[in-house]
């Protein structure tokens, strides 16, 4: 498989994720978009892991960990917002004060 193909796919995933994050209003969709852009980053890293295995693999694991932690925290927050406000959009969150 052509290495550049993987990089192009990674860029597309990343760009799509970023676009989704900025364009969508629903928090859950924004969260998913962020996950997609993270996947793009992981894919790019996988390609680089072919030439420089050890360190980049460590990086991949780090990104995966961050993604998992993000999902855990963010998903929980979104669930709370939904329970309080009824739905979770960007607007309902911005009205919070603490």
């Amino acid at each position: 498989m052509n290495g550049y193909g993987i990089l192009i796919l990674a860029s597309l995933l990343f760009a799509g994720g970023v676009a989704g994050f900025f364009l969508k209003k629903d928090l859950l969709t924004m969260l998913l978009s962020a996950e997609v852009s993270l996947s793009g980053a992981i894919l790019a890293l996988l390609y680089f892991a072919l030439s420089n295995p050890t360190e980049v693999r460590a990086g991949i694991i780090a990104v995966l960990t961050v993604a998992a932690a993000e999902v855990a925290v963010a998903l929980a927050s979104v669930a709370v917002v939904v329970r309080v406000k009824g739905r979770a959009t960007e607007k309902t969150v911005s009205e919070m004060k603490g």
Binding site: V18, F21, F22, L27, M30, E90, V93, S94, E95, M96
Partner: protein
């Protein structure tokens, strides 16, 4: 056996530390045995050193300061000068510690008192045993601190607290000069050991020697209560009377005389500085004696008398007779501390210091009366008593140098005899005024007084041996006078002293009321208004200046800076909080912008 020198300062140092840390837990009985015993041991160690050690022995303990080319060792020096001082200080301190057990017996601050008193003894011994100026300065400041603590010992009394503060501040002015003198000496000689300074005094140019000597002498006028810095000593009488006897009569206030004697070669290098010392001394002697004529507080009379007698010592050293000045210091330590202890005994019995409320105590307090009489005869210079030998030595030496100094000194001797016997006649003679019953003090107080009375008589008899002993220093010489001249001088001063006693007897026993000289009396009773003058000249401008600085500099600039930095942080925070919109996308945008910026910089090779 040089270790003996260490023991001399170790005993009181241990006492001070022990009583400060555990004084509250110890019984009065233990303290009243332990504290005087420690000073007694210190005295025994001094005696043993005197008998076994050669002059010039030095106990080297450890290097204390080593910065650049300044090297100061912590060491103790034993030479004729320090030997005399150490014996006098530890001996008198021992007797006064015993006396204090009786005098302070009822005081709730018993442990604190003895902790301070031991600390004082330690500092004073450190001062006199130090072989270099920086160590001497440590002792110098140590005794100053103890003086402050003990003047303000009854600090719940406002006058006592203020008197302590006054003593401390006035001494600061003197110490400022003392420190500058040390610095100046170091910049020229690069060594602060007395032996080096004294053997290299010739290196100093006369102008430099004058500057150094006068700066150091400013320190001496502060500590030894001479014009212009004498004003703190009369107020220092607020402290307990044994403290006045030990610190403000016998030992600490004579430290200035000791210091000038110690650095005499530097003073001798500058004739002008010696003249200043002699004239300041003799003028102070006269000036303080005139004030003492009209005081009604028994301790104030003795305080001015102390100032006056220290003036004599400076006059003696200033006319070049170091051993005469030191000899008067030595005899004065006995009779003046005895005068204070006897006055304390009277105060203890009557509860007042006002001589107008005393009178007729001769029968009730015979021991106190007799020792007081002996001390008064000694200070008046009556032949056979110690003060006679030392005072006439000074006057004879002054006569050989300057007739004017001698004349003032002789008149002062007459005044001294007058005010001392005025005190005796007002206190012990006549009818009781305002008291019903008085009782003699307990033996714990009278025995030390009797011992001091013994020395007040005999201390003068060793004058020839004393001078010979001090000649070991190498720079002590007395001018020779023809015996006939000396006899005439003695006759003059003794007859003036007798006239003083006679006038006092005529005024206070025959007439039974004081003379009134109108304005002269008022000026003397107002102590020449020097305190008021200093108030206008220094204190008021200082407090007013402080007020202005408080209003404009403190409130304006310092407070402005403090509050300003707080305000800047708060305003900055407000400004930054504008970025916090609460919209996640805004944060994402900032993040993306940051990533793009970082990537751009990375690609262009900046990062």
């Amino acid at each position: 056996m040089k270790a003996l020198l260490g023991l001399i300062i170790l005993f009181p140092a241990f006492g001070a530390l022990f009583f400060v840390l555990f004084g509250r837990l110890l019984s009065k009985k233990l303290i009243s045995w332990l504290s005087p015993s420690l000073v007694g041991l210190s005295f025994i160690a001094s005696l043993a050193s005197f008998l076994t050690l050669k002059s010039g022995s030095m106990l080297y303990l450890f290097p204390w300061l080593s910065v650049g080319n300044l090297h100061v060792d912590f060491a103790l020096l034993w030479d004729p000068l320090s030997a005399i001082m150490t014996l006098t200080v530890s001996g008198v301190a021992f007797l006064i510690h015993i006396y204090s057990v009786g005098y302070m017996g009822e005081d709730p601050g018993f442990a604190r008192y003895f902790a301070y008193l031991n600390l004082f003894t330690f500092s004073m011994l450190l001062l006199v045993l130090s072989p270099n100026l920086p160590m001497m300065f440590v002792g110098w400041e140590g005794v100053g601190l103890c003086s402050y603590l003990l003047i303000g010992f009854w600090f719940e009394k406002e006058t006592a607290a203020n008197a302590g503060k006054k003593a401390f501040i006035v001494n600061r002015i003197g110490d400022f000069g003392f420190l500058l003198g040390i610095f100046l000496l170091f910049t020229i000689l690069k060594d602060l050991n007395f032996s080096y300074i004294n053997s290299h005094a010739q290196v100093l140019s006369p102008a430099m020697a004058t500057a150094v000597a006068l700066l150091l002498f400013l320190g001496a006028t502060g500590k030894s209560a001479q014009i212009p810095l004498y004003i703190w000593l009369p107020d220092a009488m607020e402290g307990p009377t044994p403290v006045s006897a030990l610190i403000h009569a016998a030992t600490m206030v004579t430290a200035g005389v000791y210091m000038v004697s110690r650095l005499f070669p530097v003073y001798a290098r500058s004739g002008f500085a010696l003249d200043v010392v002699a004239w300041v001394g003799i003028i102070t002697a006269f000036f303080a004696a005139t004030i003492a004529l009209v005081q009604n507080d028994i301790k104030k009379v003795l305080a001015y008398s102390t100032i006056s007698q220290i003036g004599y010592m400076f006059a003696g050293v200033g006319v070049g007779a170091v051993s005469a000045g030191m000899f008067h210091l030595f005899t004065h330590a006995f009779f003046k501390s005895l005068l204070f202890l006897a006055a304390g005994s009277v105060i203890h019995a009557l509860g007042t210091q006002d001589m107008r409320k005393m009178g007729g105590l001769r029968k009730e307090m015979p021991v106190t009366f007799w020792v007081f009489l002996i001390a008064a005869l000694a200070i008046s210079g009556i032949p056979g008593f110690s003060g006679f030998f030392s005072k006439d030595e000074i006057l004879a030496q002054a006569f050989a140098k300057s007739r004017a100094i001698w004349a003032i000194g002789v008149i002062t001797a007459g005044l001294t005899a007058f005010y001392m016997f005025r005190l005796i006649f007002m206190t012990f003679y006549g009818k009781p005024k305002g008291w019903q019953h008085a009782h003699e003090s307990p033996p714990v107080m009278t025995v030390p007084m009797i011992i001091l009375a013994f020395f007040s008589v005999v201390a003068g008899w060793i004058f020839a041996a004393f001078h010979h002993f001090l000649e070991g220093l190498g720079y002590v010489r007395l001018r020779e006078l023809a015996p006939s001249a000396e006899h005439i001088l003695v006759a003059v001063s003794v007859s003036l002293a007798l006239i003083g006693i006679g006038v006092a007897w005529w005024v206070y026993v025959r007439r039974e009321r004081g003379l009134n000289f109108g304005i002269i009396y008022r000026v003397l009773a107002g102590k020449y208004y020097v305190d008021e003058f200093y108030d206008i000249l220094f204190v008021t401008p200082y407090t007013q200046g402080s007020r202005v600085i408080n209003r404009y500099f403190d409130k304006g600039i310092i407070d402005g800076a403090v509050e300003g930095s707080g305000k800047i942080t708060m305003e900055g925070g407000k400004l930054l909080s504008l970025l916090q919109t609460g919209f996640i996308k805004d944060y994402g945008l900032w993040m993306a912008a940051g990533v793009i910026l970082a990537l751009t910089l990375a690609i262009r090779g900046v990062l």
